[in-house]
Symmetry: D2
Subunit: 344 residues, 4 copies
């Protein structure tokens, strides 16, 4: 059985696992105040070219989103995102549970535009009774988005400028950052992500770590007391060095970027196979997630050897599903699948 249903079904890249094992007998200070976290921070700041950034290591994506947003907003402020944004639809109302309104902006490809940010901000700014509505204060976007799509550097720059213009924070969820950076025709670098946002996170869980997300805070306003939020939200790992050592291994020589490339290359070959076969892509994704609409009968055939993620029923005989590659996907797995698609 070949698992392509998501990018978090395998443990860790072998180098990452080895790094953990190598320091298992060593004692460290707790709560992320150790030399592994320090080294990982330096490696990340170097990759991002943000020597002044604050780096924090958390365990998972929802946890990171709720911690970052709680630290950035005051209760009367709200977060803007695509209606399909992860915080809006797949986190059990975590942000609202922290007291903040999430405003979903309409989107067809998982992306929002600078114009939408402008509009939402101006609606508030122009209101006669601002105290009756929430103040949009943070824009949440994902790179790549939940549909696998990417913002161009131009789009990202425009959103960043719109945020600056209206005094909003731009927060980028990079749960799949390695796959985004490796995306086909992508012109956005990790330095761009860092310089255009106020805070973002580098995904580890889906990108080769056992677990872990690295928060990069560049806006000085967002730095103070962040560790208080981390602790209060139950997000401070006692043995923080486990996060540090994994990220250090990934960033010390660029392994993070390598693993992303392999996964995306495999996904694009798969995409090409779907195209050739005339199977409809429901999103034009240049990254590791490929969403297709297929006949149920074809899906049944594939399901004997492959695990995909079922998304939704399209009509009586067609469904939308996701095939997802990852750092762990092997060439031969995709080759076999391509052959099987050709033979459908």
């Amino acid at each position: 059985m070949i698992r392509l249903n998501n990018d978090y079904c395998y443990g860790a890249h072998e180098r990452v696992l080895k790094a953990i094992a190598d320091i298992n007998g060593k004692a460290y200070p707790g709560y992320g105040l150790d030399e592994c976290c320090q080294a990982a921070s330096e490696a990340i700041k170097s990759a991002c070219k943000t020597p002044e950034a604050d780096i924090h290591f958390l365990t998972g994506g929802t946890q990171t989103n709720l911690t970052v947003i709680s630290s950035a907003l005051r209760p009367y402020q709200s977060a803007l995102c695509a209606s399909t944004g992860h915080i809006n639809v797949h986190e059990t109302g975590a942000i609202e549970n922290c007291g903040f309104k999430v405003v979903g902006l309409s989107s067809i490809d998982g992306k929002i535009t600078a114009a939408q940010v402008d509009e939402a901000a101006e609606e508030y700014e122009n209101s006669d009774i601002p105290e009756h509505i929430t103040e949009p204060k943070l824009v949440y976007i994902s790179f790549p988005t939940e549909l696998g799509t990417l913002y161009s550097k131009k789009e990202l720059t425009e959103i960043s400028l719109a945020c600056k213009k209206h005094n909003l924070y731009l927060y980028i969820d990079g749960a799949r950052l390695s796959y985004g950076l490796a995306g086909e025709n992508n012109d956005v670098s990790i330095e761009d992500i860092a310089s255009l946002s106020d805070v973002f996170f580098i995904g580890g869980t889906k990108c080769g770590l056992l677990f872990g997300e690295a928060v990069v805070i560049t806006n000085p306003q967002l730095k103070p007391f962040f560790r208080h939020y981390v602790k209060q939200k139950g997000a401070m790992l006692a043995k923080g060095w486990l996060l540090g050592i994994q990220f250090y291994e990934m960033f010390k020589d660029g392994l993070y970027f390598e693993t992303g490339k392999n996964a995306v290359n495999l996904a694009l070959r798969l995409k090409e196979a779907f195209r050739k076969k005339g199977i409809q892509l429901s999103a034009d994704s240049p990254t590791n997630q490929q969403f297709v609409i297929m006949k149920d009968s074809d899906l049944e055939k594939l399901s004997k050897n492959y695990v995909y993620e079922y998304n939704r029923r399209i009509d009586q005989s067609n469904s939308e599903v996701r095939f997802c590659t990852s750092w762990a996907t092997k060439d031969e797995e995709i080759e076999k699948l391509i052959k099987d698609i050709e033979e459908l």
Copy 2:
């Protein structure tokens, strides 16, 4: 200057004010545990034909909404409402601040349908990963809606049945209930409101009281500990009898319904005048709020003698505004306005 911008710009109906003055020298137990609240409860239960209901008196609409919804939901549950619903757009994120997601359903006339409730509930029920999304547990509707429109008895019954089918609470915001019940062609009675919902509130602030909303809880599951929520949310008026005496005065002989009728009659005459003049109604409202799209030049003329509420710009020379009658509006005020409209 004739104020028609809203229905809460005057004090109280003279009978209500007199009732307060009449008992000013009398001492009462605090926090709503007094004979005025008791008498008002009885009068309301009698009007609603719900002898088993629990009645609570609160001070304002946002306060009532956040208290009722906080008491009805657990943190992983969400409230469904029209995208235009008051809790979604005009309460500064009060419900989210209490920890709950508000899901706005698309709506053009301020109303939602039973089919939308079904769809939202079924999306949750059919989810493979329900723990990743919120459970829709409460439907919030307004009668009348924020656009002045009304649900028919058939529509309301269907929504009520959809709620029962999916085990959701139906909560009706009756901030303008007196005007809804008096609406043109309305076939919904206060008894219908009571029997079709699990909890609703009878608006006082906009319907002739100095302030006050009466919560009517018919579903036994929602009754326990409600006073704890009221106190915790800062919504328990020390001198609760002030609320009781006002509602008693309004319900002891049907004054509440009378005042609604007068206001709606005046609004409908105004509506007819707009129609005759060819002024576009932006919502077909059978109640006390009339939304029209007018030339800015005409609005400027009217603004010399009338206060209306400015809603939004339609285009370079037209705007949407609201004219609102109330229990306090006088015949001669509307007659004068009608004449002025005719002469535009």
Copy 3:
């Protein structure tokens, strides 16, 4: 039956009620943006000698406490108060429900000391792991306290200096402020209250209004967006002028201070009668609340003509109760009670 169980069992001072009635036929802008609130603000600022203060009018004490504290604190910060403080024991966990820890400091007379503030602040400042504990950021005290006691000007100044030294806000709950200012041997003026605190509120509900508390914000850091919090917490009265007109009536010529004096004079006469009779005072209160420990048999006798508040059982035959005067208490009521005490 003479009600002395609390200071909120009667409606409003006749002048206050008349003021409301006088403007009942007049229309006003909503939400506190009216000329009555404006006039009341000016009168209060003049009394407090704080021309730069922001004044907001809310409905009740718990509501005011939770709104002020929510606006002042960030989630990782806590409020310090006496263990007997109203927010700690009589508001159903309202502050915690807003997300903030309340730290109760030990107290026997309802008061805390500057030394206690220092100690709590220094514990945090000296912590090696501050992110594991909450940052004390606000000191809540009541003037008078829940036991009727008062801070001297020296004590208040010391607490204020301790707060400044450690960068904490000092918030004074003045639910019974008129009785505190009129307290026996009190050397604290309303100007002192205003200048020594960062924010405080002037109680109306217990001091002659139908309802209402006036928040006075002097610290500029606490001013921005306060109306957003008021709205979000459901604390913004639609007909805000009802609050404004009441406070204006009380402050335009010093009625607020007069009513306090009468109540305290009566309470002190009652206290003297208890003393003469050898009845134990359980707190040495110079204000309108008198706590005494009496034989149950004596209480039974008094209960025929008087309502007092039962606090707690002391032993098999003695109980602690509260007798409370107010702006509404009449000379002859206290004279009668004194006679009855003498005859016990």
Copy 4:
């Protein structure tokens, strides 16, 4: 340098680490719905003799506490604990941030009594105005406590009975459970913990795992929707099998209990050495944490070779510190320390 400052300064027991490595190449379903979690659940249920229990695996202690308590309480309810309880003093107000009051009961040895539970519950039950105070609904205790002390089976049974009598949940924080069960003269078994509580957690982070706590829910009322809370609080690990495999390794043959014994034996030898030397124990701990009051000059000597945790200054020349053994502590480390203590 020998680290004895805490019990979470080393990675994982070698068998635990090997178990993770062994399955690194295997793919699993996400979010704890995998066979490793299943096997671990069965092993834990077997050890606890609770075939009907629900088991959930979370990442850390604060996270577990806030998730369990959020799922158990409604907003008007509170949690009782020792004033020294971890949720009261070392979690940055996490429980309050979830909206719940924590009531700290006075304690000198980190323990509370059934009588204290009775008293707090009865104060609420007997209140005339219960809606003005929070309802105590959950008792939080730690086994061992934060001071290393243990409840006897009799004490635990009495607290459990008091909870049942007053309809409170008993929740036991077992962050150091392995050390508690191995405590000197301990007569409480893991089956007792399971049968006397409504919910408890088995600590992993401090007891030989890389990270992880296993929540055991025995009370059926607490089972529904628990996964919703876990997800909403950001506590659902994507690769849940990492938790499952670690707990399985620990429970499949009793390794969890073995590691606890070793640590406690070493701690007791250390305790004996302190006693012999006349060094004051500030808590009489039968478990792996030993709190002592030592001369600063002696501490300075020890600090050259040992890391201990500094707790607080006692006087000018004495301090309280903690020495902590763990599953990772080696015999020779303690032997060396004992020798050095003897030579002080």
